[in-house]
């Protein structure tokens, strides 16, 4: 879809939506939001960009192929659960610590894992569908 309006606005919207998605992810612990919701917004951003500028352009904006992001997300989620084991606590026990006055905990890291997994899985499906849709046309 190479309309000028969509191509121009999608650039702004892409950045805005990504910012919003990260905002939602990080504030999730105290306000409405979280990894799952943040990931959905990010998928929307990429889907929009792909519609306006084509798949390969959208792919270039990804740090890793989507399926790798799935693996990375699952790994992060798993590792965040293992931290508690070091304190002789059961798997997935939350551990909290302060970094530069900011309160961080393994549940937040776990949420980042959720974010990456959901984002990667959905985006991979959307990209794959778009790719084969292009072939049919």
């Amino acid at each position: 879809m190479n309309t000028l309006i969509l191509q121009t606005t999608s650039r702004f919207l892409f950045t805005l939506l990504l910012l919003l998605s990260i905002f939602l992810l990080l504030r999730g612990h105290n306000e409405p939001g979280g990894g799952f919701i943040g990931a959905l917004v990010a998928v929307g951003a990429y889907a929009l960009y792909a519609l306006a500028h084509g798949l390969s352009a959208a792919r270039q904006l990804l740090p890793l192929p989507p399926l790798r992001l799935v693996g990375l997300g699952l790994l992060i989620a798993l590792l965040s659960g293992l931290v508690g084991l070091l304190n002789q606590q059961p798997f997935m026990t939350g551990v909290w610590f302060k970094v530069l006055g900011l309160k961080l905990g393994t549940p937040v890291i776990f949420d980042i894992g959720v974010y990456l997994t959901v984002f990667g899985a959905l985006l991979s499906a959307i990209f794959a569908l778009e790719e084969s849709a292009k072939e049919v046309r």
Binding site: P32, G34, A47, A121
Partner: protein, 750 residues
């Protein structure tokens, strides 16, 4: 001890890295099993003094499961065999699979197997035992199917897995039953259970596990097929160690389950039948590895027979078991490795095509000669002593006809030994064949040499043999192992065995021509029929349920859901919500809009239009959430609606020339109505249930102080119920992978 098992597992994980970065990786990796062998050898004095070692840590404390290990004579013999033979197997693999692209993976799996097998024989808690037991089945599956591009390898791997893991399920049930009966999960604390009312059921289950693992009749067929594996695997798993796991378990449980008529008669009968089956089928083959595999089946039968004799004899049964076990592991491991070396150098394993090998492969020849002496049960090697004590045990307790059959079974061992040695001495050596590298002959030579050493000086093994026999017998056994027992009936039987074996050797060409022609019917046919039936059922079901029409899929799914949920719910009666709040005007307007959207979806005949109006319903639900103070749900609902619209639009683009939506058929309408009705009823039913307030109160109270978050929904997702979320995102990830794979596959088919 726990450290030893852990180091074995960790070392295995490092193996691919070592293989990539070091030239002579096999010699370096062999240090791991070698070090473990030295460690276990250093525990010998303590164990021989009669004090078993124990060690355990909490594993799953909430279930009372402990990672516990127990070392007595029986475990120690197995541990030494596993690590000692493992050392030579690792060295041998480097020579045998030299330059194989997947060598790193091979080391990884074979060392993982070693660690699991070690865990199995040291396990005290039954859960530890079972987990290790299954790990050996899994690693064996991966190793048999190592050449996974070959159909035969894959088939053999699957067969071995289905048979042994099927037995493993029975074993799990048996172990649970046993620990319940005994009131303790520790194998070392099991009391005598012969009088318990559940004794027979537990016995049958345990026997199923042991017999499948140790390839007893009628489950023996998987073992010869497993010879598709690379030779180091056959030498290690399928002769010296894994197939003895079943035998180990029987020996371990002998004190608490033995001493009953059923035990002895079942074990002796199955052992003898297996011995004879292995012996008879030997005559059908000329492939070195297959010949050795059938002889392994026969030896496993002999070991089970020996365990059956333990409660009936004073101590011959237990000592015979201890001696023959070591003898067989040494000579069979060596013979397999030597067979692989011959195959590697001469390019064939067919005994009819091999000749004059001794002149070109003298070291391998010496190893085969010594091992064959043991196999034939001739002095002065350990195999002779082992067989001798077994004969004494059978003479003491078994009826004469059983002794006769056992002699016949062992005679075939002598025949096979002759068959193996002859190609080394008869005929001309083949062109261009020479001795392999040291890694190929070191293992066979050392193992066969040990057989000779212990045969000449049985006193070396005597203390450990006593300890093993005591563990199997359940009380202290002292026996003096001798190479020359003097003239007695057992010696006469040995002489008879050898003569009979030689006679069969001269009959061999005729027997082979007679037996090798037709495929024999056997229990493998039953296995194949079962598998075929299962496949046919699956294909039939798939044709019926997944015929390629999306409509049919939906009808089956919805009808199935309505049927199952309706059947489960309706007989109990449905609850009705009590005291509903009056409808607010804003809500009423929203619901009206949603109803309109739903009705429009029924009337519209354009696909895209339907997506839009269904979207109205979805957006309405999101607004509803918002009005009811559930912003989290509202955001999620909105986003899911948006992405669903994108996904559906993409799918619609894929379907060429879609046309208009056809009108619904009566059956479809009926199913749709039933499904919608069921969901409505379910919702009302849920509203009518009393909500357990303590849960929401718990989360509301604990969210901030213990989860450090004000958003209760999020804290539940990532903290309180984090494990559930982890499972869910794993499913999401797999679904993404599935979509990708499906679309990729379609692309390749085009």
């Amino acid at each position: 001890m726990i450290g030893a098992v852990l180091i074995a597992f960790l070392g295995a994980l490092l193996a691919p890295w070592v293989e990539r970065n070091l030239k002579q990786a096999n010699w370096v990796l062999a240090l791991l099993p070698l070090g473990l062998t030295i460690y276990f050898a250093s525990l010998l004095p303590a164990v021989l003094e009669g004090a078993p070692l124990r060690h355990s840590v909490d594993w799953v404390p909430t279930l009372g499961v402990r990672l516990s290990f127990y070392l007595d004579g029986l475990s120690l013999l197995f541990a030494l065999l596993i690590c000692g033979i493992g050392t030579f197997i690792v060295i041998y693999s480097g020579g045998y699979l030299k330059g194989h692209p997947d060598l790193g993976r091979f080391y990884l799996i074979i060392l993982l197997f070693m660690a699991s097998m070690l865990g199995l024989v040291l396990a005290d808690h039954f859960v530890t035992l079972f987990v290790m037991w299954e790990l050996t089945s899994l690693t064996s599956y991966l190793l048999i199917g190592f050449n996974h591009r070959e159909f035969r390898s894959r088939r053999a791997a699957l067969q071995a897995l289905l048979v042994t893991a099927g037995g493993g399920l029975a074993l799990l049930a048996g172990l649970i039953l046993l620990s319940g009966m005994a009131g303790t999960p520790y194998l070392s604390e099991l009391p005598a259970l012969q009088q318990h009312p559940l004794y027979l059921s537990a016995l049958v289950l345990v026997l199923l596990g042991a017999f499948t693992k140790s390839a007893q009749f009628p489950f023996h067929f998987w073992l010869p097929n497993a010879m598709e594996a690379p030779t180091p695997v056959s030498a290690y798993l399928h002769s010296a160690t894994m197939v003895k796991a079943g035998v180990y378990l029987l020996a371990r449980l002998q004190p608490s389950l033995g001493s009953s008529e059923v035990w002895s008669s079942v074990l002796m009968a199955f052992g003898l039948v297996t011995l004879l089956t292995g012996a008879t089928l030997t005559f059908r083959h000329t492939d070195l590895k297959r010949l050795l595999a059938y002889s392994t089946v026969a030896a496993l039968g002999a070991l089970v027979f020996a365990i059956g004799l333990v409660p009936l004899t004073s101590y011959y049964g237990a000592v015979g078991f201890a001696t023959f076990l070591l003898a067989h592991s040494l000579y069979k491991g060596g013979l397999f490795m030597a067979a692989g070396a011959v195959d590697h150098e001469a390019g064939t394993r067919d005994i009819h095509q091999l000749s004059g090998l001794f002149r070109v492969m003298p070291i391998t020849g010496v190893a085969v000669g010594l091992a064959a002496l043991s196999l034939a049960g001739l002095p002065p090697v350990l195999g002779f002593i082992g067989k001798e004590v077994l004969y004494m045990a059978s003479l003491q307790a078994a009826p004469a006809w059983m002794v006769g059959l056992a002699v016949l079974g062992f005679a075939v061992g002598a025949t096979l030994a002759t068959l193996l040695v002859v190609p080394f001495f008869r005929g001309q050596p083949p062109e261009g064949v020479h001795e392999g590298s040291p890694s190929l002959w070191l293992g066979p030579l050392v193992l066969a040499g040990l057989g000779l050493l212990v045969g000449l000086f049985p006193g070396l093994y005597n203390p450990l043999a006593d300890a093993v026999a005591s563990a199997v017998k359940g009380k202290a056994v002292e026996y003096h192992l001798k190479l020359w027992p003097g003239f007695n009936l057992a010696l006469l039987l040995s002489l008879l065995t050898v003569l009979l074996g030689l006679g069969l050797y001269f009959l061999y060409p005729r027997l082979w021509a007679w037996m090798a022609t037709d495929p024999l019917p056997g229990p493998e046919n039953a296995y194949n029929a079962l598998l075929r039936g299962l496949m046919r059922l699956a294909v039939g079901l798939a044709r019926l349920l997944q015929n390629g029409s999306l409509r049919a899929y939906l009808v089956w799914t919805f009808a199935g859901l309505v049927g199952l949920v309706g059947l489960a719910l309706l007989p109990k009666g449905l609850a009705w919500p009590q005291g509903a709040a009056p409808l607010k005007p804003a809500l009423g307007l929203l619901v009206g809009l949603m109803l309109l959207g739903a009705l429009a979806a029924l009337r519209l005949r354009s696909h895209l239009g339907m997506v839009v109006v269904v979207g109205i319903v979805g957006a309405g639900v999101a607004l509803l959430f918002l009005l009811q103070n559930a912003p989290d749900l509202a955001i999620t609902q909105f986003l899911v609606e948006t992405l669903t619209a994108i996904l559906i639009a993409l799918v619609l683009l894929q379907i060429p020339r879609l046309g208009r939506v056809p009108p619904g058929r009566p059956l479809d309408k009926l199913v749709a109505l039933a499904f919608g009705g069921l969901i409505t009823l379910l919702m009302l039913h849920m509203l009518g249930q009393p909500i357990a307030p303590h849960l929401s109160r718990f989360f509301a109270e604990k969210s901030l102080p213990e989860g450090f978050g004000q958003n209760i929904v999020n804290v539940i997702l990532v903290d309180f119920r984090g494990l559930d979320t982890f499972g869910e995102i794993a499913v999401v990830g797999l679904a993404g992978l599935g979509v990708y794979a499906l679309l990729r596959r379609r692309k390749e088919e085009h």
